[in-house]
């Protein structure tokens, strides 16, 4: 393959830098930094490192505004993963990352290598990966291509995670037509480390050896970062296939064990995984962090096949490789560890004081007087010489133009479905029928057909696995537990990207808080469109502003994440999707509270109050209602008080179960508490706005709590102390879900106080369960799911 071949068949008249995805302005920037023209190899190195994926050249000015400081933060943005201390000498490492475009081109391998890549980010820090959460978004489930993608991506996530032995404990699965040509595969990984083993991606100490271990370097994943991840693409283009990496989870498993053994034995000074940008990225990032450079012996890099061009070796994204910086006297010990795990291991260069990445072909020879202890052999030649910082911290930054859309609200076309107003979609429609339709809808039905394809219990830490709210994991050797959730509110984000991001943070943290855990920090995966389009960049900048505002208000640090732009296909851009991952800490994992009702006779309470607005809700989607500006807002101060209140209530032993009100609204939250426990409920809801808003609206900052009857008054008092509205809805019990509506004047003057303003919901649990259990399989036309055994 020549360099031009690698550029997806650009016309031969196209200048090389343009074919590689660089602009004229960027070529000038490269010339400025080198003081000369780059050669072709250097240009290829710049093209991957200055890609959006590696350089964050559009998002960097925005990301700098995020709050990153917080209690216990050991490592924050810029490292491979965020690390936060959890006491007992332990810390948790976590990060979320996207693998959207590779998964669109080759769903199985794209998703599999997405898992592999984020796991490497975790164990590179010295942490053993203990859990994966996958947040997946697809187009219309009735679409044949969507079904192909769902099948391949789910198999890929499972195929990789199951084999490496890291449980998949949670995530999201969302369908929206905007993702039809551009599915989202966001994978979050969590690891546990002893703080003393924290390892950074650095290259200190001139003269230290640069070691590459793991798989050999092949031609897969050439230009993955630049060709695939950083440009709008058409999903069916077979010329992009070579840009997708191929995963080998068996090698990854060996790489985990070998890397952790090297770290625990104190054999490495710095460690970096090879992901996007391959050897170019790993060498330049580690050197730049330490203010050093590297002399790289190209010939020493193990290859999978002969005849690879130097640029291919340097930018290949072959998977399951690691770069270690070690002291020369530890070479034998490092080789022995790698050999035990059956992993090839080669010294490929030296750390130098001169802060350049120099790539030499033809060999290096020892010279004790030279910088780094080696010099090029007499017959060798230099392929590239680039200041490390020019590739990384001093990469070009673009100040993109942001502009809100001209018209945020389109006039409805004649005959178009009505905008979401506060009423049930059709006169006379039974709220019970709406509830069943929601429970059976593709976005709210049980995810069991998907998560049963994952191993969720390996490593014996899973207290609460997928399917019932946030994941809860015990921390072996301590009484503690970790709680994790991923959430994104894209449909509100499409109306107001600031609000969408704020709601995403609020929901993810609330899901963690309702178990009793204290959220520790936030990782984020920002999935947006083409940043050169002012409207898309406006969405991104508004979402980052919302992310920052929400994290500041809730007192949480952003410890890292990933930006995925150009998520567009010929049919348009995706909904702006800020996927938020939150990890929380339980001091005593046995106190974790779940969303399922617990006992007959317990009192059901609703904390928080409904706000008007149905836009962006699953109810609006179900009713085919057009989006308008009518999305519920949020009071972040109330959200903070709500989360503090539920944690305090749980700590005081007042709470039997807690479930947040989100997709499908209060009615769905009640149905879930009932279905997941097998216990019914007899409730009455005062209609404050309209039956649709109160039953199915998704306004935030609400939790359905159950308490033992004798604790109800104490919990109500606690809520009022926190300045939160709270009302009793009725008792747990029976085998039916009953929700009566009590008018309070909002739906019309004719109703006297106390009269019904809509039919009650009155359904046997079996009917709810049937709708919920079969909805996803029906939507995807999969084989009907097996009946779920009780318990997990």
């Amino acid at each position: 393959m020549t360099l031009m071949d690698a550029t997806a068949q650009a016309p031969s008249t196209t200048p090389l830098h343009v074919a590689l995805g660089l602009t004229d302005e960027e070529l000038d920037g490269i010339r400025d930094r080198l003081g000369r023209d780059p050669n072709d190899v250097e240009l290829a190195m710049f093209s991957v490192m200055w890609s959006e994926h590696c350089s964050y050249k559009s998002s960097k000015p925005l990301l700098r505004t995020l709050p990153t400081a917080g209690e216990g933060v050991v490592a924050g943005p810029g490292e491979n993963a965020g690390v936060i201390s959890i006491g007992d000498g332990l810390a948790v490492a976590f990060k979320i990352e996207s693998h959207n475009h590779p998964s669109a081109v080759e769903p199985y391998q794209g998703a599999a290598t997405g898992v592999g890549g984020i796991l490497r980010d975790i164990f590179t820090m010295g942490a053993r990966p203990i859990a994966v959460l996958d947040a997946l978004r697809f187009g219309d489930p009735a679409d044949a291509r969507t079904r192909h993608l769902v099948d391949g991506i789910v198999r890929g996530v499972g195929g990789y995670g199951n084999c490496v032995g890291v449980p998949t404990v949670g995530g999201e699965l969302v369908f929206d037509p905007s993702y039809t040509g551009n599915p989202l595969v966001n994978v979050m990984a969590i690891g546990i480390l002893e703080e003393r083993f924290l390892t950074l991606a650095q290259a200190p100490g001139p003269g230290n050896l640069v070691v590459l271990f793991g798989s050999a370097t092949g031609r897969d994943g050439i230009g993955g970062a630049s060709v695939l991840a950083s440009a709008t693409f058409t999903h069916d283009d077979p010329s992009k296939r070579p840009s997708v990496q191929v995963g080998d989870p068996f090698s990854e498993k060996l790489l985990i064990e070998a890397s952790l053994e090297l770290i625990e034995r104190g054999l490495v000074e710095g460690l970096q995984d090879l992901g996007a940008g391959g050897i170019t990225c790993a060498t330049s990032e580690t050197a730049d962090r330490s203010g050093t450079g590297m002399l790289v012996d190209l010939d020493a890099i193990p290859r999978r096949e002969p005849g690879m061009e130097p640029f291919e070796v340097l930018i290949s994204e072959s998977q399951e490789r690691m770069l270690a910086v070690i002291r020369p006297d530890r070479e034998a010990a490092v080789r022995a560890v790698c050999e035990r795990w059956g992993l090839p291991c080669e010294v490929i260069g030296r750390v130098t004081a001169a802060p350049d990445i120099r790539v030499i072909a033809g060999g290096l020879i020892d010279d004790a007087t030279a910088d780094g202890g080696q010099v090029p052999a007499p017959e060798a030649w230099e392929l590239a010489r680039i200041p490390a910082r020019a590739l990384t911290s001093d990469a070009i930054v673009h100040n993109r133009i942001a502009a809100p859309p001209q018209r945020r609200r389109e006039a409805p076309a004649p005959g178009a479905p009505a905008a979401a107003s506060g009423t049930l979609p059709e006169r006379g429609m039974d709220p019970g029928a709406v509830l069943l339709a929601l429970l059976g809808s593709a976005n709210l039905a049980s995810r069991r057909p998907v998560f049963e394809q994952y191993d969720s219990t390996v490593q014996v830490n899973t207290v609460t696995g997928p399917g019932h709210g946030a994941a809860v994991l015990r921390v072996k050797g301590t009484a503690k537990g970790l709680v994790a959730s991923t959430d994104a509110n894209a449909s509100v984000g499409a109306i107001d990207p600031w609000l969408g991001a704020v709601l995403s943070v609020a929901e993810a943290t609330r899901n963690v808080a309702i178990t009793g855990a204290r959220p520790l920090g936030v990782t984020n995966c920002l999935n947006f469109g083409d940043p050169t389009r002012p409207e898309a960049f406006w969405q991104l900048s508004e979402a980052v502003r919302g992310l920052g505002d929400a994290c500041l208000a809730l007192g949480l640090p952003v410890t890292g994440g990933n930006v995925s732009l150009y998520n567009e296909s010929p049919t348009g851009a995706i909904l702006p999707t800020p996927e938020i991952g939150v990890v929380g800490l339980l001091d005593d994992v046995t106190t974790a509270v779940g969303p399922a009702f617990v006992a007959d006779g317990d009192t059901i309470l609703l904390m928080g109050s409904a706000m008007p607005g149905l836009a962006g809700s699953e109810y609006a989607r179900l009713g085919g209602l057009t989006m308008d500006d009518d999305a519920p807002t949020i009071d972040l101060g109330a959200e903070k008080r709500l989360q503090a209140c539920i944690r305090e209530g749980i700590a005081r032993g007042l709470v039997a179960s807690a479930q947040d009100v989100s997709g499908g609204g209060l009615a769905v939250a009640l149905a879930e508490g009932a279905m997941w426990s097998g216990l019914g409920a007899q409730t009455r809801i005062a209609v404050a706005h309209s039956p649709a808003v109160d039953l199915f609206g998704e306004s935030p900052t609400r939790i359905v709590v159950t308490t033992r009857p004798r604790h109800a008054a104490a919990f109500e008092l606690l809520a009022r102390d926190h300045g939160l509205p709270i009302e009793q809805l009725g008792p747990v019990g029976g085998s039916r879900l009953v929700v009566e509506l009590i008018g309070s004047g909002a739906t019309g003057a004719s109703e006297a106080r106390g009269s019904r303003v809509a039919d009650p919901i009155d359904l046997p649990l079996a009917e709810l369960e049937h709708a919920w259990n079969h909805g996803l399989a029906r939507a995807l036309d999969w084989e009907a799911p097996a009946a779920a055994p009780e318990g997990r």
Partner: protein, 247 residues
Amino acid sequence: MTRIGVIVFPGSNCDRDTMHAITLAGAEPVELWHEHADLQGVAGIILPGGFAYGDYLRAGVIARFSPVMRSVAAFAAEGGLVLGICNGFQVLAEAGLVPGALLRNRGLRFLGRDVHIAVEQADSQFTSLTGPRRPLRLPIAHGEGCYFADPAMLDQLEANNQVLFRYVRADGSVAGDADDPANPNGSMRAIAGVRNAAGNVAGLMPHPERASEALLGSDDGFAIVRSFVESAAASVGAGDRGGVLVR
């Protein structure tokens, strides 16, 4: 303290979980690396779950040729107690140490869920502490767990009391062969675990080590782990391995 060996193949991923359960059961786990033939004098051996050598070709097919497996076969031939869990069961079946074969799941998908199994031989060395007859709830997590043997062999297994565990419904009734969700992988005669004719080597697809603590949802599997540890300890105490273990 009773020392129980846990084989670690490259790609084993339940080795640590199994060692954790052995520790909970009051025994000392000993890592047995696949390249070493020395069994370090352990009282019993567990082959853990995972994807030994990647299992790209067929589950367990490469692992059976590893140096440690020659020692395991010799240990088993002398009457030593050996248990294979999930991938460990697949390896034992490939090695011919337990009868039958594990095929791909009926649905051709990996399946991770809780199942119910019945203990068919309550007095075996693997089940002696499982208590009164009731279904045990254990997780499965496998893509190739469909137990297969020809009808004659199945009849022979039944006649010899070699079927140790069967998939059952929550009420304890035996799951059907096909299209019964209680038989998650389509195993013939709903077989979830078997032992060899001598009774000292067994394999099962569900994971007892993952159901060994109530905190994690079920401790039904812990009785299997404890049975194994106790039987292994007894075999050492008796000093004559073969005499104790072969029925």
